[in-house]
């Protein structure tokens, strides 16, 4: 028990040290690498808190996907980084920012420490109603039955984020291919990995998606792995990103949220409330929503990393 406590304490100190280093370090690229390590350490902490669902999401989205996005951003900013350093904010602004950040952190800490013991929880209620949904993983039941409005908005938000990225395209490239065309040595190690890994990664991604009904896992984590496999093939130059004007791409991007909304509104007729499921049909409907959301999420997450369109569409 004391050994576990020692591990927990050193893990916490390590996370705090990495967080401090990310803020203190001047080089953007170094800060991004620190952020990825921070995400992985945070995932370990979630495992120690017996929250494997959150840990999987943190590792996949927080460390992996956000890390990839930030590495891309840092690469783009590299050219202008020296110029922006001259416009570094003055002492007053930095002090104000530090005071604001410390106040927020302190308020959060007070909020967490002021919770009564035991903390108020809806977990027993969620587990007690688990049987009505037909799924075995209480986290999935919360995300897709008890609080499905949050998940619906989440799926729409990532789509809006993708539209935001696309809107950065120059006029001449609108409708064209996102990101640069990658060229790697076809006999090189990257092309080799991009041929070897995707079959395994696709199975692992689909497994994590499917097992989410009963065990930790789910569509976001599975979709991240599938998106990573697709990006690997793209980065190795074995395939290209699809032009964003393609009809199949746009149809798949809106299918997930549309199916979710349609089933949600159908609930107001069949079950008496928006986003409610008629009795006995909860599990098939949840699976239908998840299957419809899966391609949307894979495409959205991968294309978010691929970036804004920058090459002309084919004539």
């Amino acid at each position: 028990m004391t050994l576990a406590l020692a591990v927990d304490i050193s893990l916490t100190l390590l996370v705090l040290a990495v967080a401090g280093w990310i803020i203190a370090v001047r080089d953007t690229f170094a800060a991004v690498i620190g952020f990825v390590a921070y995400g992985l350490l945070l995932a370990l902490i979630w495992v120690r808190l017996a929250a494997p669902d959150v840990a999987l999401t943190e590792a996949a989205i927080g460390g992996g996907l956000t890390g990839a996005l930030l590495i891309g951003a840092a690469g783009r900013l590299r050219k202008t980084e020296a110029a922006t350093r001259a416009e570094y904010p003055g002492v007053l602004i930095r002090t104000l920012a530090a005071i604001l950040a410390v106040t927020v952190t302190a308020a959060l800490a007070v909020g967490v420490l002021a919770l009564p013991d035991p903390a108020p929880t809806l977990a027993p209620a969620a587990v007690a109603s688990l049987a009505t949904t037909g799924v075995g993983n209480p986290v999935t039941a919360v995300l897709l039955a008890f609080r499905s409005m949050d998940t619906l908005l989440e799926a729409i938000v990532v789509l809006l984020a993708l539209l935001g990225v696309w809107s950065l395209a120059p006029d001449r490239a609108w409708g064209g291919y996102p990101g640069p065309r990658h060229h790697a040595d076809p006999d090189g190690i990257l092309a080799y990995l991009a041929r070897l890994l995707p079959p395994i990664g696709i199975i692992v991604g689909l497994y994590i998606f499917w097992i989410g009904a009963d065990l930790p896992g789910g569509k976001f984590q599975g979709a991240t792995i599938l998106a990573a496999m697709w990006l690997l093939v793209i980065e190795a130059g074995l395939a290209d990103t699809p032009p964003i004007s393609r009809t199949w791409l746009r149809v798949l991007l809106v299918t997930g949220p549309l199916v979710f909304i349609a089933i949600g509104f159908a609930g107001s007729i069949t079950a008496g409330a928006v986003l409610a499921y008629p009795e006995g049909y909860a599990k098939p409907l949840i699976i239908a929503i998840e299957i419809a959301l899966m391609p949307t999420l894979v495409l959205t997450l991968a294309l978010l990393v691929a970036g804004a369109p920058q090459r002309m569409p084919p004539q």
């Binding site: 690229f29 590495i71 590299r78 190690i189 990257l190 080799y192 990995l193």
Partner: protein, 97 residues
């Protein structure tokens, strides 16, 4: 029998931890990128291999054991690939994107 297996686990995991320590010291002390990469990938390959080998007698056969071995194989693959890519970028004399 279980005592022998426990001792095997302790010895193998300690040996693995030693390789991680040696790899970290190498990462900090070696003079250039290529030798530092060498130290890092050796720590991953040998260190994690020994840790996994040590944990095998404690893991449930067959699925947990196979998962452990799969994790080691994936780390080998990732370490070898990333090591090559970083070495290539270092030789071109440009920072990795």
């Amino acid at each position: 029998m279980s005592l022998v297996l426990d001792i095997f686990t302790i010895v193998a995991v300690l040996a693995g931890a030693f390789f991680f320590l040696a790899g970290t010291v190498g990462l900090l002390r070696f003079p250039d990128t290529l030798t530092r990469l060498h130290a890092l990938t050796k720590a991953d390959n040998l260190g994690l291999g020994l840790v996994v080998m040590g944990l095998l007698p404690q893991a449930e056969w067959p699925f947990d054991a196979i998962k452990l071995i799969a994790i080691w194989l994936f780390t080998l693959l990732a370490g070898a690939t990333v090591g090559q890519l970083m070495a290539l970028a270092a030789r071109r004399g440009q920072p990795t994107p």
